[in-house]
Symmetry: C2
Subunit: 787 residues, 2 copies
């Protein structure tokens, strides 16, 4: 009865209504209805995360219904306290609001649901919600809100909150504040880890202030906020600021009238002591808040929308003819846009969307997520790689601790780069199991360098190499040289875990070995090249890390002698020594949740005794080095491994999509693409409640650009091998390449390309077998045949 | 049906049952039944406080029913944080236990009450409770507990907790831990002040550890505990230690059998960083806990009982023939025994029984509470006065801040002695009112010195004078000399509040002026005496505080010239300048709650316009200096002021009791005595929920010893003017006087006295008009007539 299709504030008479209307439908993600299960509530929270890469907030309902796992996270704020290892810290919240009537809270946990919808406006980075509910006394209330953190001013947040009593006039109490009573989930069920201690809580005439400090690392988080009733202007409510321990609440009692809407506005400011000296946090926070209040939200909203427009202008990908794919892709790109670190810092495997994987940074970052930023926002990509440079000392400690030289990037990395892989897993299985990934999954070391090389190849940023990159490449090469073992004339890498984590303690994982071969060769090439060309700039680096030519020579011989082979008869790459001798099993089908049927007598505990693999391993290698393997080899390995892949990782589908395209299994590829693109929207692995799968998100982007777009960069030339699914009419996107910006529109038979550059000239572009010289700064159309 | 008269553990088969049986009935305070109101719950919590003066715990039920205000307090641990002023800090709790059955907690808030009793064994300092309740599923459970903090080892606590399922066998979950999620009540209703931040929380195989720090002062509080199922030995329960933010919980699931009792034992250790360096707290606490576990509770319980026996041997007062008076008096002495500071430190106006009056130290301490300790435990009295010495720098700041010289003791004092009187009152009246006591109630300065003089007179402790006392006396005298104003040949003290707080901003309050006269004269006398006798010891003090003879001479002239007079016609002392010209009002009666009827048009807001007074003021003066006023004057002033006294302070009744005895109003005196003695037991002022009224407690003791016993010390002689109420057959008590211990038994017509001393000799004892020489170390009987 109170059902409305629009949950925005458009046309509500708000003075900035024009700013706050909803975008057209294609930019919206809607979720209607409400189920009281914690899982359902938390899935919505993950999906409706808003943020700017510094400050991200889960899409929890303001009244925090039972079962919620609301949280706000600040990029790079990790802490250990009683946790097993450092983890991303849940920060004090400013978005909680509750409305009470006669001792009863209006909450979907207890009230009768009449209407509920959340709408994420992805174009604008704004979360809307509209709910109408009836409490036990029969009172019907509509709650609407919109909230965001600004993209142009990462420290500020904004919320509008509106209530409308539908069938009653009575006093209501409305609470909102700053809530420092937050804990992270602990290891044991329902245990909670408190990372924050209260430092200061203050009330002023027009502000509230809360300052807390992380217990182990001593990072202070300062939040200030202003909360007031803004409409109707005639309504009066006296805010009573209250301190409840670590919780600040501003309470307002107002006599609401039936049918009248009451709108509150909240302005919030968030800083950490990484940006402001501790002793100035209070003054600075309050000062910023006052400035914000003076300026007003309207000006900021305009700047915010401008910032989002620019983001989308660069990053949007348009698919004509396939709205589901278009919608899913937009969601994935939205996720990438709200997670790019605005300063030196990286991206965790669940983004800043939850405490899943403890907010740690894995190889997902460089292999799956980084490409989007390299091609769209190279400054952000540089921030991400700079994080790896900043954590090089931690990586060196990891190497030293394990008896190696150089730098060993951590399988799981947080604030220092020292390995923070938890020692035990896992809650879900309700058993405690040793985790070996931190000890053995060493391919991460080369994955990071893969990211560095990719960044350099696309951006041509030599300064980064000299400031950070070379040191990273050399120190990690040095690690590998100390890690390999020499055995009967060849080098081996023993006791590792490859991307496929079903098989632990294996020797000579093909992915790892090839990566290391490439990595060491890269190190040598860079050393040789730089010695020739920039000896002056290279020398201080070599002095700093005590690197001499003799050592580099060793790297080259290790690279050459490292075990790796393709069976010339079958063209197959054996995933690791002895893999082919395992009990063979071809997957016969998947259940509704996407889990494969397991062979008799096999569980996830002894799965390593079979050829079943968790995710793309050899195939990923072939995808990462497409020019290093013949079409025949790709075909053979795809055929062999796909049947044995359980896809129990969110990293698997996109690789199969791209490899599928590469070997001509195009309908399989589209199937895998949609799995990747809908991974969280359809809760494919059942754990979206615990956060967004960042690798799948990055993989979806890669599948479109690398896969359907068929784009790659080969030294001086742009390579394109596009193919569009039948129903796609058109695919358009832009990428940046060095100082150039490339606009591409791909049709089934032709592409339209425009390479904007600061100079007029010609750029070589390969389109399938032909190479064209494309003039910069003008649109060109090229025809092709993909079959 | 499960009603039992005994709630103790006697005869339960516990291996230390013999230690834990209940004392005889006269030593027990019982409270049966349970009302769900917060007020009723909190009254019981105040009354059932256990402690040792370092660590006191309110008598809250282990499961903390709704409305509880449980709390543990450590003497002298104050903090400000967001509070208006420093306040006593509620410390992390270790006595919480909850028992759950199928998601429902056994709590008197929700279950049906079948039986409930708390029993305080005052002889042993142990709190027992026994409760049988039925939950919504019909399951009947009996919960019994006993708990205590040791008197001989102030850092250790002990609890036994026993559950007996009466009509079911099922799994139960039992939780207990260390709860750091505690907050003080804030100023506004329901607001909460968080004084503690978490520093460390650790679990070990057999221990839990929680360390928190006060936010403003940085005092750390470390608690460790062991919690286990001890009986039946066959029962097994696996404790699962869990950390929930600032709360540590050990959870046990056990399959209980109908009719079988299960007993848990908890050992707790509490320290602060005032006793142990911060970096050693964890190790020391765990080490003490392990020692405690190894030693076992039995040994400690024996030592505890021994310590209590010694306390009672000195402090007990036996009244034959009046069980209600005897019981009430025991309760009051018990309160004094559990509140004596074991090291330098004082006693707040609500003891360590709650956050009432924020745990602050008032004049109540020296005037009402100190005498008990002077006469029974002079070491404790010295600790209390040492607190005033330690806070002398704060007192000097108070003087300086107000433009005076010397030292001005704070009206409300906490950790530093700087004035911490809140600026505003009061919650109960729901209006905010400026508090002037901190600015004007300056008699506190001389009240402290009255305590010093009394201590010295009774104990003869000259060392204290040289180490602390003289400096206090001189610096405060110096304050007064700068505070008085010289006006037309006399000195005046303007704009004060006397003990009667109904009248603010008055000039020349008789109590204050007389006190100051006496105080300055005392300072001169001590200076002169010490100059003569101990010049060497006095000189460093005079040098330190820059005191010269000339200044002392000024004190004498101020003392002599300070305004104070008795009207020779009426023998009345006017309470302050102009008091007799106020609208006169004689109280016509009291309501059920003891509040007087007010004259028409008068509220507590404008009560200062009448002669109604809040509490004894002139009468208190006459009580404190009994030899300075004639019988006639006492009589006249008693007659005049009693009729105009509202007794709105817990300090009033005992003064009227003693003055009543002094002027022959003996049945009135007994009436006032019982009011004092039952002040909290009968919740006379309706606010016992907020803590025990320490002054009334001390006043009850004084009324018996000074009043009915008629005891005083006059330089070298013991003075006795006993009078017993008709129904009292006998009154016996002991007091210490210098190195002597006096045992007295008073009958209606005779006394039996024994003065134990380290030497044989004769002591002059005045009994009414006669003086006897009493031989030490033997019992003597003297007859008297009191009429």
């Amino acid at each position: 009865m109170y059902r409305t299709e629009s949950s925005g504030f458009a046309g509500t008479g708000l003075h900035h209504a024009s700013l706050l209307g909803l975008s057209e439908e294609a930019w919206l993600m809607r979720r209607k209805g409400f189920r009281r299960t914690a899982n359902s509530i938390q899935i919505a929270e993950s999906l409706f995360t808003t943020g700017n890469g510094y400050l991200n907030i889960r899409g929890s309902l303001e009244e925090l219904p039972d079962g919620h796992a609301g949280g706000m996270y600040i990029g790079g704020v990790y802490d250990r306290s009683e946790a097993d290892v450092e983890e991303l810290v849940k920060c004090p919240m400013w978005t909680d609001v509750s409305v009470w009537s006669e001792g009863e809270k209006f909450s979907l946990s207890t009230c009768t649901l009449l209407f509920h919808e959340q709408v994420l406006d992805m174009k604008k980075g704004i979360l809307h919600r509209s709910t109408t509910m009836r409490n036990s006394a029969g009172r019907i209330l509509t709650i609407e809100s919109l909230r965001l953190v600004y993209m142009h001013q990462i420290h500020l947040g904004y919320m509008l909150f509106r209530i409308t009593p539908r069938n009653f006039s009575a006093p209501l109490r409305v609470f909102s504040g700053l809530n420092g009573e937050v804990c992270n989930r602990g290891f044991f069920p329902e245990e909670r880890i408190k990372h924050l201690q209260i430092e200061r809580i203050e009330r002023g005439r027009n502000f509230m202030y809360l300052e807390m400090k992380t217990r182990q690392q001593g990072i202070r988080i300062a939040e200030s906020a202003s909360w007031k009733l803004i409409l109707p202007k005639s309504a009066r409510a006296y805010p009573e600021p209250r301190i409840y321990g670590e919780k600040f609440t501003s309470e307002m009692t107002l006599d609401v009238e039936k049918g009248q809407s009451y709108t509150f506005e909240k302005l919030a400011v968030v800083h950490t002591s990484r940006e402001i000296p501790e002793d100035r946090m209070f003054r600075r926070s309050i000062c910023e808040l006052k400035k914000y209040v003076r300026t007003g939200a309207e000006v900021h909203l305009a700047a915010h929308l401008q910032a989002w427009e620019e983001k989308w202008k660069q990053a949007d990908i348009r698919i004509a003819g396939d709205p589901p794919a278009q919608g899913a892709l937009r969601f994935n790109i939205y996720q990438l846009l709200i997670n790019g670190p605005p300063v030196s810092g990286s991206i965790g495997a669940k983004f800043l969307s939850s405490e899943g994987y403890l907010g740690h940074v894995f190889w997902d970052t460089e292999i799956f997520i980084l490409p989007f930023f390299i091609y769209n926002f190279p400054e952000t990509a540089r921030n991400m790689l700079h994080y790896r440079y900043a954590t090089l000392p931690g990586a060196m400690k990891n190497a030293e601790r394990n008896g190696y030289r150089g730098a060993k990037y951590a399988w799981e990395s947080a604030s220092t780069g020292e390995d923070v892989t938890p020692r035990f897993a896992s809650k879900l299985e309700r058993t405690i199991r040793l985790i070996y990934t931190g000890m053995e999954e060493d391919h991460i070391v080369s994955d990071v360098i893969y990211g560095v090389e990719k960044y350099f190849r696309v951006t041509g940023d030599e300064d980064f190499l000299f400031e950070c990159g070379l040191e990273m490449v050399f120190q990690t090469a040095r690690f590998w040289a100390s890690r390999v073992v020499f055995n009967g004339g060849i080098y081996e890498i023993r006791r590792v875990i490859g991307p496929d984590e079903f098989h632990e303690h294996v020797d000579n994982n093909a992915y790892t070995n090839y990566m290391v071969k490439w990595h060491l060769r890269l190190a040598c090439m860079l050393f040789t090249y730089m010695t020739k060309r920039y000896r002056d700039r290279l020398e201080p680096i070599c002095r700093k890390i005590e690197l001499a030519e003799e050592e580099v020579a060793v790297w080259l011989s290790v690279s050459r002698g490292l075990k790796f082979s393709i069976d010339p008869a079958t063209m197959l790459v054996e995933q690791f020594d002895g893999y082919f001798r395992l009990r063979d099993y071809i997957i016969e089908g998947f259940d509704r949740k996407g889990h494969p049927k397991l062979p008799r007598g096999v569980t996830y505990r002894n799965i390593g005794s079979t050829t079943l693999i968790k995710q793309a391993d050899v195939l990923l290698l072939m995808h990462l080095f497409p020019h290093a393997f013949s079409e025949e080899a790709k075909q053979a390995n795809f055929d062999y491994y796909e049947k044995r892949t359980a896809h129990k990782s969110s990293l698997s589908h996109c690789t199969h999509a791209m490899m599928g395209l590469s070997v001509g299994k195009r309908s399989r590829a589209y199937h895998y693409f949609m799995k990747t693109a809908l991974f969280d929207l359809e809760n494919l692995h059942g754990n979206t409640a615990m956060g967004i799968h960042a690798a799948a998100v990055g993989g979806a982007w890669q599948t479109v650009v690398y896969g359907f777009g068929g784009l790659s960069i080969k030294s001086d030339r742009l390579v394109l091998k596009p193919w569009l699914p039948g129903k796609w009419k058109r695919l358009s996107f832009s990428v940046r390449w060095q100082d150039r910006s490339i606009d591409l529109t791909i049709y089934h038979d032709r592409i339209s390309i425009c390479i904007a550059a600061p100079y007029d000239g010609e750029i070589p572009v390969s389109l399938y077998r032909k190479t064209y010289k494309i003039r910069t700064n003008r649109k060109e159309v090229l025809h092709y045949c993909s079959s």
